[in-house]
Amino acid sequence: MMRLPKFERLLPSSVAEACQMLNQHKNEAEPIAGGSDILVSMKQRVITPKYLVDLTTIPNLDYLSYDDKEGLRMGPLTKIIKLARDAKVAEKYPAIAQAAASVGANQHQFMGTIGGNICLDTRCWYYNQSSFWRKSRAPCIKFNGDTCYIATASKVCVAVYSGDLAPSLIALGAEIKLSSPKGERVIPLSQLYSGDGKVYLTKEKDELVSEINLPPPPAKSCSTYMKLRMREAIDFPMMGVAVNVVLSNGKCSQARIVLNTVASAPVLASDASSHLVGKELTAEVIKEAAEKAYREAKPISDTGGCPAVYRKKIVRVYTKRTLEQVVSKLT
């Protein structure tokens, strides 16, 4: 059987205590929520933390609450399945519901949490392998070596980010609350990701995502998420596009197109997004935006066996499709 390495599970009763535990054990501790990702990495001995700080023992971190003024507040330990099945979420933030429903398979959605999915480690075929497998090669950059097997000329790790929720959340303007022994701060979710495959989050090790917030959607707005994968279940995305568009007086007043799995962080396609603003979203404009998104996307690695050049092409196709979809819903 695939067995876990030994560790000690710490049981905090509050976020503050959890942060303290993480602070105390710095490089030897990892937080665990649903466990469906971190335990895989531990079984493969990709990481072998001495302590697991169990966030599920902290009360009141599992909630979804919507308010027309405040928008959606999400507790980090809310199960992904809740997002996938919540009627309010589907109505107000369709991209979130779609992204949640596209995570892994049923079991992963029941086990995995929003916070865990947001903080999903970057992935790479040379990294996410068993300890035996990795013996055939010198350690890569993500393992503190100096070789990148994907981009051999690269001095930084290019492992890709492939959480399904973040692109949609970012497109919808999500903010997260980070708690640490020093206190709390609120940042846009987009700022959580560093863009470096190795140290992929900007938060400190002893900081925890303690809440995720979405503003209420403007009156004439719509969002959607489309995921490229080889199988319709289980697979991580090989590319993904989340869009959120606001219309006023028949023209686009706000737009965000966020690309998934083309880099070590979700990527805002800013040229493509701004191209839409101030325009009527005609087929021609959509096509142009898709072309811009295509140019902005710079996938490096052949993620999951899917060549970068192909994933880049699909950025164009899916940007077009997602925009067409939201426009058809809005008009």
Partner: protein, 158 residues
């Protein structure tokens, strides 16, 4: 250090001494002796180890046993009565939805949880409900038929 815990599995209480790094699958199979839940990949990608925890499907290979204290675990062994199969099991046999049988406990547990929430599933609901359970023998068609039949039988008998 081993820790003494109580696990509620199939409505029976098992007192077991385990290390904190044991997966629920290890404890079910090796400590308690319930080998119906299978390991097909050990990494959460095949669904053969699916059990229910408080009614929700969970991959036992990625569940820490220690975390299950105070929760109700239902495994394939807890479904049938001594003298009667559960309707899903009955339909699985009748419709040829079982061949080698190795993925069977996993998808039966997934569909059990599906039908508990959604007694009248569409074909699409069923397909999605077992999408995390790989099967190499059947091509899924007969599995889907069996779940559909079981759903009908269960709602007919209330």
């Amino acid at each position: 250090m081993k820790k003494l815990i109580e696990l509620n599995v199939n409505s029976e209480i098992y007192e077991v001494a385990i290390d904190p790094h044991r997966s629920l699958l290890e404890v079910l199979r090796e400590t308690i002796g319930l080998t119906g839940s299978k390991e097909g990949c050990g990494l959460g990608a095949c669904g053969a180890c699916t059990v229910l925890i408080d009614g929700d499907p969970a991959l036992a290979c990625l569940t820490l046993a220690d975390r299950c204290v105070g929760h109700e675990i239902l495994t394939i062994e807890g479904l049938a009565k001594p003298d009667a199969l559960h309707p899903i099991q009955k339909a699985a046999v009748k419709f040829g939805a079982i061949q080698c049988g190795y993925c069977t406990p996993g998808w039966i547990m997934s569909s059990y949880s599906l039908l508990a929430r959604n007694p009248k599933p569409t074909r699409d609901d069923i397909v999605r409900g077992i999408a995390g359970n790989l099967c190499r023998c059947t091509g899924y068609v007969k599995i889907i038929e069996a779940i559909d039949e079981a759903a009908k039988e269960m709602s007919a008998s209330g």
